[in-house]
Symmetry: C2
Subunit: 444 residues, 2 copies
Amino acid sequence: MRLTRYFLPVLKETPAEAQIVSHRYMLRAGMIKQASAGIYSWLPLGYKVLKRIEQIVHEEQIRAGHIPLLMPTLQGADLWRESGRYDDYGEEMLRITDRGGRDLLYGPTNEEMITDIFRSYVSSYKALPLTLYHIQWKFRDEIRPRFGVMRGREFLMKDGYNFDLTKEDALHAYNRHLVSYLRTYERMGLQAIPMRADSGPIGGDDTHEFLVLAETGESEVFYDSAVTDLTFGDRDIDYDSVDQCAAIMEEFTTKYARTDETHDEALFNAIPEERRRVARGIEVGQIFYFGTKYSEPMGATVQGPDGKPVPVHMGSHGIGVSRLMGAIIEASHDDKGIIWPEGVTPFHCGIVNLKQGDGDADAACENLYAQLTAAGLEPLYDDREERAGGKFATMDLIGLPWRITVGPRGLKNGVVEVTSRRTGESEEMSPEAAIARIREIYGA
Amino acid sequence: MRLTRYFLPVLKETPAEAQIVSHRYMLRAGMIKQASAGIYSWLPLGYKVLKRIEQIVHEEQIRAGHIPLLMPTLQGADLWRESGRYDDYGEEMLRITDRGGRDLLYGPTNEEMITDIFRSYVSSYKALPLTLYHIQWKFRDEIRPRFGVMRGREFLMKDGYNFDLTKEDALHAYNRHLVSYLRTYERMGLQAIPMRADSGPIGGDDTHEFLVLAETGESEVFYDSAVTDLTFGDRDIDYDSVDQCAAIMEEFTTKYARTDETHDEALFNAIPEERRRVARGIEVGQIFYFGTKYSEPMGATVQGPDGKPVPVHMGSHGIGVSRLMGAIIEASHDDKGIIWPEGVTPFHCGIVNLKQGDGDADAACENLYAQLTAAGLEPLYDDREERAGGKFATMDLIGLPWRITVGPRGLKNGVVEVTSRRTGESEEMSPEAAIARIREIYGA
């Protein structure tokens, strides 16, 4: 993309309403614009990152064998009356009446609707195991929306639901989700620690939250520092293997890590003192096993191997897709702006032309742009008539991980400069070597 | 995808509520499930087609130089009060009150919101031309939702908005959209004819609707049969070229083609009698030029080259993404089921194993599956223990354009069978030749 043809409305001033760094930078970098309290438009740069995050979530869900569908944003009230949650859910549920006087609601979650889909079509245990998921906009009418997309009212979430014949099978689905979530977050450059949590209005016994450590997190967390040494890395997982998934579950959840809701002071104090940590965390996902809580009242049963009807064992599993963008920025920034991890960056690299209009500089930039594009990469070429300082400030603010700087002086020596946003280190090399370097970084 | 691991709830019975063929087949093929009147869940197969349609729309918009963003589904009422449409829009607008008593609405279209985004950031003519678009769920509270996704209440739509300094520039944007829409529909295997139309509640002078001819269409259309001979084909278009876009506009809109709203009997009768056609059409898109209708009341002005403020010239341009799925089926089916055009098919081909459990047949199917997948294609392998007749009926119903049939008898002679869903013609060939054939069809 050429910046002169893009829509990137960066702001010089820091908007007064933004209390935390991710909110400030998303506004300043022209990524979002508030439409109403807790409701945002995703401007082109923000939309690109949102799509990259969404794509990673899809890829990892499909890798785990989960099947995508899409449920609507609006739901009829009847299903929620069946489960008993219509009255229970409280004021966070946005209730709507249509022109025919029917009660609708903007879905805050989808246990009822997915259970209805399941019971409408599935009657035999032979169709199990089955995990269905979708990525869809949801609405929770927060009394105090704040922190930008971190606690918005209209938000994008992946929610998945497993249907299994037995508790044992459902716990494998639980572990499988845990494994797929670890991979998902790592691909986004995040360390998200699974912590034993409280189930809240979803219900159920087993639940883990995934938390990203950050000073601005809404939850106080207590953990053994050894958990932060764990990395998922490039493991080749057979998601059908009960043992493999259980082993990873054990590896990542045995050491003490809890939110304040489930914190146990005695257990915490049993950790060697030098490894005890108290910090804050941002919740970016949660997995639940809740057994037959919805299948029993809603009649989601299958015929078992013995011919008798059995209510299915279920769980639900969520990733906060739009919230993740805020979490990533909270975890990865400096005082000049955002530092995108390569996995979610909106553009793979920036090209800064130090002297727009100079024949050699323009030609070199065009050539870099064409070759990177041909390699399947998306560079952002700052082709504005603007001073170098302004161009650098924009690139630093929007946080592209790599920048290629092109100027007449360097070109006389046959070199351009490749700069890492994270380290700030620059290296001079030929344009061809710069292209090869960027391609190597992204495997393109 | 292996069918035993997929969720494809095909129905044997035709649901009584479905009046038109696309609705019947989408229900029977397990593509959608009604959640509430005019509100649908997109089951896995339907979701896949929806994503393919959406992807083509994105690619063609980006090719035309238009920039994607994403506005929220819910909008504050204030912007609509500013434009005067809050009261004008009528009962199709779903009005909502949140817990704080604020008036919201589920966006039926986005002229106000995009104009607000524009005026918040753009102050100079130098930022023009600019076209922003999004693909987002919208809601119109139809009094009689029917025909499945063809006239739903919650629907997915691409809506784009151009901002230009002059009427002349805005008319180029209008033509550019017309060109990009012609390409878009053709890639989906559709002929959509631009017809002079009525502007309705969007307003404006210039507007064309794109109609797909189908007996079940909601509009009566009148046209010169010569328009159906026009094809866009594989033209290489420079979307910045005013002349190229204008020439295509002229080529595709000069011959008589109008809906009943704008029909002119005298003009129609001037066409040679043998070329006069009266038929029905499904509206799948519309483009508008409406000048300063929104920019003036909402203060969307830029500083012109002479330093004086000028309200921008705008247009809006929509494609009914979810509705297109119904239109494609209406235009492409037979009495056995859907016939997907290659451009939007949910799976590139089906693999039917005539004798599941037979060592040779299983191995040959696995090999086809692995090689097609490795080539970047998505086959659907029917690996169920089911009779051949049932497998063929499912494949015909869900409409994959190509089927590879594998059985022990053919394998003894070293052949499998490749069948076109459209023509019904089969050809025997080696498994390697079958793979090469499917790859060639999709350019994979």
